[in-house]
């Protein structure tokens, strides 16, 4: 099967090269057969990558320990669930997984537009094939996952051997979320290839109109949604496994995943300027280019060892390949832009600074500044070492100080932007839209002050969250009220109806609401408390309203590890609430230890308990308990963001006027001169 997999990868590379070179020839010659054959080569590339990926999975499931990658990342006792995830647990496999996900996107694009956009698709196909060639080069010639296990003999000749068992999967990765977090994140990274291909393709083809923007937007939303899910799942994994009580440590690899998310978010907003007003064409194209570049940069940071991170793969020479690819992309993007920049001439005209256009411009500015701040902080240790010779660490305190004010500014714009009108917003409209939300926000702030709220950032965040939530609720309320008056339906049904009539707008509001929940959760971090204590059996620890009683210990042998558990009874007001079992796991195969945190989670707070090993002084087991307010809001907010994105991707239902004599909720005079009772019905576009 390893030979089959290797062969499939080589063939995929050949097909990708044909799709690329043939595609360029097809663009020049415009020969229909050549265009068709290059598209088919593109599809064959994807099919062959699928075969290679399934081959590697088969090697894992069949415990083939003659393959170096399988030996390094699996063992016989590893559960089926984790054998699936072992594919992306190391450098070589994760690069193949990258190619696999990219192939899923590429084949989806090729099938979706097989008979559409004939002028644009050959260009898009060439760009996608170009990206595939790069990753297939890595898969075939730099980091092949199908290398046989070999050891050099006395004569220097490699002897191919097979082991009876493998080294096993890293303990930190043996957690359910590790099976879904990387695929989501990688789907985000790879997904941004498609908007990039459309943007570059449209620029090269000088594709007329804004159609490429419409096509790009949907693919960007898909990639953005996966990136959002990937980031949040990663945060949740860090929270539940690493045991340091937090979910975001501003680790370079975490930052790398956040950067394209920020520019992707900026693009999703600024693209509306181009769609509606024909503005910011150059900016939008460059935002797509930068987002893709940041995806490749993130992969480079994770795999090159240029920055130190717990998430990074082993240091290797692969980084130079990424640097070369980054340089090539920048060169191509600049070349295409300089050659065709007149194609991006915008119809920039603005009536007032108080307008939706301005708010989008500032929204983009803030997102970009945040991106620059995080990128510069992440790379600063490298620059510092180059220039001064000293390597400076840039940890979480720096990123928090820099990004919290930026985040609050962004949150403010989240509330303001959608309520401003295109072109110009009147003073009357400002009062009508912002009066109540502002008042509700400020009153909440005053009440919070009265209750002793003294953390400045969290206080501002609370006010802004209430303000933004009020603006969103008010928008739904006003729209639903109109529909309710006409249709007589319930308020909830009217709100759903409203959403389905303009999914993009109201889906966007739902996403904003999700972000409000996330910000609320983040604001709670200012009130985190923790306590650590050496515990004997029967000892208690008090944290907040909870009493933790150590009832004892037990040992739980599992197939792949042995767990030592603390049996902690949680009491509240002297009444038993529940049992928590924080554990320490010992993995015999890898001779490594891991933690498994126990969490009692409510909307108000998380009681987060860690078995932190034994005290070096007393040899007693150490219980580390945290009380983290509002953490659940972050995960809930993430789910709302994903839901809102899905809603925004749905097609609009069109409101249809249907004449009916049976219902009389409203009587209107129709333009045609008819007078009749009118009900609203819907039909899909």
């Amino acid at each position: 099967m390893d030979v089959f997999g290797s062969f499939a990868l080589v063939l995929a590379f050949v097909c990708a090269v044909y799709a690329f070179a043939g595609g360029i020839a097809a663009i020049i010659s415009r020969h229909p057969l050549l265009i068709k054959s290059t598209r088919q080569a593109g599809m064959a590339t994807c099919g062959l990558i699928f075969l290679a990926t399934f081959s590697l999975e088969y090697l894992f499931f069949s415990d083939n320990f003659s393959i170096a990658y399988v030996v390094a990342h699996s063992n016989r006792d590893l559960s089926t669930f984790y054998k699936l995830a072992a594919l992306w647990s190391g450098q070589e496999g994760s690069l193949l997984f990258w190619s696999f996900l990219l192939a899923v996107y590429v084949i989806s694009v090729l099938i979706t537009y097989r008979n559409k956009n004939g002028e644009l698709m050959p260009y898009v196909g060439v760009v996608m094939a170009g990206v595939q060639i790069f990753f297939l080069t890595l898969n075939n010639f730099v980091a092949s996952p199908f290398k046989a296990l070999a050891s050099p003999g006395v004569d220097g000749v490699l002897n191919y051997v097979a082991r009876t068992d493998g080294n096993g999967l890293t303990p930190l990765l043996q957690y359910p979320e590790m099976v879904i977090h990387p695929p989501n994140l990688y789907s985000g990274y790879t997904g941004f290839t498609i908007p990039f291909a459309f943007a570059l393709g449209a620029l090269l083809a000088r594709y007329p109109g804004e159609k490429w923007i419409h096509l790009t937007r949907k693919w960007t939303m898909i990639a953005w949604m996966f990136q959002s899910m990937g980031i949040l799942l990663g945060a949740h994994w860090a929270y539940a496994v690493l045991g340091w009580g937090g979910y975001w440590g501003w680790d370079p690899v975490e930052n790398a995943s956040f950067l394209p998310w920020l520019t992707g978010t900026a693009f999703l907003h600024s693209v509306m300027m181009q769609e509606k007003r024909g503005m910011m064409k150059v900016w939008n194209v460059w935002l797509v280019f930068i987002t893709f570049l940041l995806c490749i940069l993130g992969t480079f940071l994770t795999r090159s060892g240029v920055v130190s991170s717990v998430h990074a793969f082993a240091q290797s020479s692969i980084g130079s390949w990424f640097v070369g690819f980054l340089a090539l992309i920048i060169l191509v993007c600049f070349g295409a832009y300089l050659k065709n920049r007149d194609y991006l001439k915008s119809e920039n005209q603005l009536d007032s600074i108080v307008s939706r256009e301005s708010s989008f411009l500032f929204n983009n500015l803030i997102l970009l500044v945040s991106c620059i701040a995080i990128l510069s902080g992440t790379l600063f240790p490298v620059f510092s070492e180059w220039i001064t010779g000293d390597r400076i660490s840039v940890g979480a305190p720096f990123f928090n100080k820099v990004n919290i004010p930026i985040g609050l500014l962004l949150l403010f714009l989240t509330g303001v932007g959608p309520l401003l009108a295109w072109r110009k917003t009147s003073t009357e409209s400002l009062k009508r839209n912002f009066g109540w939300p502002l008042a509700i926000g400020l009153v909440t702030g005053l009440i919070a002050l009265g209750f002793g709220f003294r953390q400045i950032y969290s206080w501002v965040c609370l006010i802004l969250c209430v303000f933004v939530a009020s603006t969103v609720v008010l928008e739904f309320y006003r729209g639903a009220r109109v529909i309710r008056a006409r249709s007589g339906a319930s308020f909830a049904a009217s709100a759903v109806d409203l959403t389905m009539r303009n999914t993009r707008r109201y889906g966007g509001y739902i996403v904003h609401m999700g972000m409000v929940f996330v910000f609320m959760g983040l604001a709670g971090a200012a009130f985190n408390r923790d306590l650590q204590k050496d515990m004997r059996q029967g000892d208690t620890m008090q944290i907040g309203p909870y009493t933790l009683l150590l009832q004892g210990f037990d040992t739980k042998p599992e197939k792949n590890y042995t767990a030592q558990r603390m049996l902690v009874e949680v009491l509240r007001d002297k009444k038993p609430l529940m049992m928590l079992y924080p554990e320490k796991r010992h993995f015999a195969t890898t001779v490594e230890n891991g933690t498994m945190v126990a969490i009692y989670s409510t909307l108000k707070e998380d009681l987060y308990v860690v078995y932190a090993g034994n005290s070096p002084d007393t040899q007693l087991p150490v219980l580390h308990a945290y009380l983290n307010p509002l953490v659940k809001w972050i995960w809930f907010g993430g789910a709302v963001v994903v839901f809102g994105t899905l809603v925004a991707m749905l097609p609009n239902r069109r409101a249809v006027l249907v004449l009916s004599g049976a219902q009389e909720p409203a009587v209107q005079t129709l333009a045609h001169g008819l007078t009749s009772s009118v009900t609203m019905r819907e039909g899909h576009d």
């Binding site: 690493l242 045991g243 440590g249 660490s393 940890g395 919290i404 295109w422 950032y457």
Partner: protein, 165 residues
């Protein structure tokens, strides 16, 4: 934009830009003891990229010994500066959890604020240029002479686009 509005906007922007330099980190105030407060300013040197007081990898001997050293130093009554010097001598400048606000490291602090100011300047410049441009393709109401059906249709499509979201 009136002068008062401009001043207010710049003041607000400045507040956000310099806030990172002035305000203590979130969470610093509720730390229960001084060791945690001082320890929050250093990185754990085990390679985990975490702040010293937050590293609790099972069996991390580095953070345990660093915290012990920190506690002993505080017990001796050493100031934060002395402790900082001690750790810098032992581990180098990479022990700082955040770049010092001096020398080349100041660039890390100033750069985001600089970008915010420059970006805002560019945005304001761009907006003011957009405002000076004359409106394009604006059809008058009522089918005024010289307006073709095509122009009217285009204006309707534009109005529809601009009022949908």
């Amino acid at each position: 934009m009136t002068k008062a509005r401009s001043i207010a906007a710049i003041a607000m922007l400045a507040m956000f830009a310099i806030a990172p330099l002035l305000i203590t980190p979130v969470g610093a105030q509720q730390l229960s003891d001084r060791a945690k407060q001082v320890g929050g300013k250093f990185m754990c040197m085990c390679g985990c990229s975490q702040v010293l007081t937050e590293c609790n990898h099972v069996g991390c001997s580095v953070s345990a010994s660093m915290l012990k050293e920190l506690n002993q130093s505080l017990t001796r009554g050493n100031s934060e500066d002395v402790i900082t010097q001690m750790f810098v001598q032992e581990f180098g400048t990479k022990v700082y959890a955040e770049p010092p606000k001096s020398g080349f490291s100041l660039v890390a602090w100033v750069f985001p604020s600089f970008c915010l100011f420059v970006g805002t300047g560019v945005a304001v410049f761009v907006i003011s240029r957009w405002r000076k441009r004359p409106a394009q393709h604006m059809a008058t109401v009522g089918g005024a002479p010289g307006i073709s059906a095509e122009m009217l249709e285009r204006a309707r499509a534009q109005a529809s686009r601009e009022t949908q979201d």
